[in-house]
Symmetry: C2
Amino acid sequence: MPVSHRPTLADVASAAGVSVSTASLAFSGAGPIADATKQRVLDAAASLGYSGPNPLGRQLRSGKSGIVGVVVGDALRRAFREPVAVQLLDGLVDTITPLGLGVLLIPGPTSPEQPAVDPLVESAAMDIAVMLWGGTLDDPTLEALARRGIPVVVVEGHDLTDVVTVGIDDRGGMADLAAHLRDLGHERVATVTLPFGPDRRGGLADTARLQDIAWSIPRRRLDGLVDAGVQPVAVYETPASLVEHGAAAARALLAGPVGSRPTAVVAQSDLLASGVVLGARELGLRVPEDVSVAGFDGLDLPWLAPDVLTTVVQPIADKGAAVGLAVGRILAGETPEDEVLPVALRTGTTTGPAPR
Amino acid sequence: MPVSHRPTLADVASAAGVSVSTASLAFSGAGPIADATKQRVLDAAASLGYSGPNPLGRQLRSGKSGIVGVVVGDALRRAFREPVAVQLLDGLVDTITPLGLGVLLIPGPTSPEQPAVDPLVESAAMDIAVMLWGGTLDDPTLEALARRGIPVVVVEGHDLTDVVTVGIDDRGGMADLAAHLRDLGHERVATVTLPFGPDRRGGLADTARLQDIAWSIPRRRLDGLVDAGVQPVAVYETPASLVEHGAAAARALLAGPVGSRPTAVVAQSDLLASGVVLGARELGLRVPEDVSVAGFDGLDLPWLAPDVLTTVVQPIADKGAAVGLAVGRILAGETPEDEVLPVALRTGTTTGPAPR
DNA sequence: ATGAAAGCGCTAACAA
DNA sequence: TTGTTAGCGCTTTCAT
């Protein structure tokens, strides 16, 4: 007699004249089963329209959901305009798909006024979580995950205990870039930074503001400049890594007379840098003859062609893979080390000798 | 006596001296419970480090996972370079988050040679699936989901039965755009299209290839041109909606002598159109004096500033919201109608009178 | 190679 | 208002 509800393994088993446990074996392959029996079960399943074991039952039984929660560091919209985040996610997915894991998207805090944690953080099923661009030290998301006993991998965050961190050598990379500019004779260097924290101010940062950098990436990239002996003559903070904010920064930084104007601008991302290039051109300045511009990330920027941006190339796909690997290890019960991936300076056509 | 494993509701209940069902009520609020009792349960939970009901148990019991599987029409990497897809996803997430639903990312087929369906499609827990840029008619993903009895919402796909479709008026929008160009006196109009199908060829499309458009968006947008009486003098198919492919198309289409060169190029996406603008400029052509360029989507293109692209603006966030709404309705047992959202022509600075 | 039985953690009837 | 009971669908000992 046919069942009216969606068939279960029990229905299939009885239709095939075997026990549920045998039927289970036919699907999972996790145990000895006669070929003939297996075929009988599969046939019964087909005729009942049974499409395989219900994942919910399987998950409860195994205690695993097969889900990796990925907390994108900010509103989705913003995170996805970030080519770095997108490419990293791509590398991550490539790595964990073979492990039978899937990515659950978890929006980060939408605004600083709304520090509430997304409900998914509190109650979605997940075996592990990845925090993209890992927030601040006292992140409530981190707390909630810890309370739930969910292990966490943090990308580009502060060094925390109890959490595996994957990042790049921001500081060293930026120092290399600064050295490159110094070698070209630049002495007045300005920098355009990523947002310092969730409040995302835009504009020139004064000394007070510079003490107040909550996020680790802008902090480390700024430190890298100084490491190489380049004390920026101006620091312009942007509210987001977008071309238009780079252009705005250029207008603010490069409007002055030749004598006091910076001869080089270092942006903390390629998107910002490309905005600086466009903004500089708008002001009638030639790049790199009048002003050198450099970035960070190593993206393709087709709209800058035929120019090639001087930048620090980070291995984004590798970073995603490293995160995926760490996820796999943790779920396998291992405790992987923190990882810092190397970066490389790429000299393009947007930097040249300082004008004299 | 404390428990060594992660505490369960039963542990909390016994610590609080109540039954499990009462303890359940303390967390779910789905039933009458005395304030004092509830507090006792919550206290017991706190002291045991119990962080709320295990979602796996809850899901099995309720038969719902709270998960919306989103099949991105192509490899993640590619899908996320598509600003339209990203913004749509953002609108979708905004709409379903309040419903207590989360998005599980499911990669589409990576390459045409590998038509295998992602394992997540076969066996991940999800209550409903959304197909972004909804594939072809005989999509194996669609089949698999149907077999599993998972309802589907298709975005920008063919009109299918048994599936709710959300889309925009591609054809009408493109017809409006074509009429605009016609009114400006353009008679030699070329078009740069999105990929015709998973094989993603690049280059001029001949008559045979034009019969072979598997994906519905390029099809409809092409039809829209013709509807308005604009028979393109050349159709250039791109392998992806990227700036560099637009530039390549411009080089191929606009290299000829003035007399035979198209006076206008219509691209099927803004990214492609901006590439066409850049490519035209590379060839020494002025936009719009020598050649008019128009796109489709209505994106912000900061690197084109101060120019503003003439384009067909589609309501991307609304589309995401419409998808989310449809998802909610379906899960509530309703059967929402297909939806076609309106678009609007935006006249920018990149189109002008045909040169004479 | 197959079957019987237990139980993953929870919620929802229903009874008290 | 609280407790008892019965599963949700599956996998996994363990016995046969």
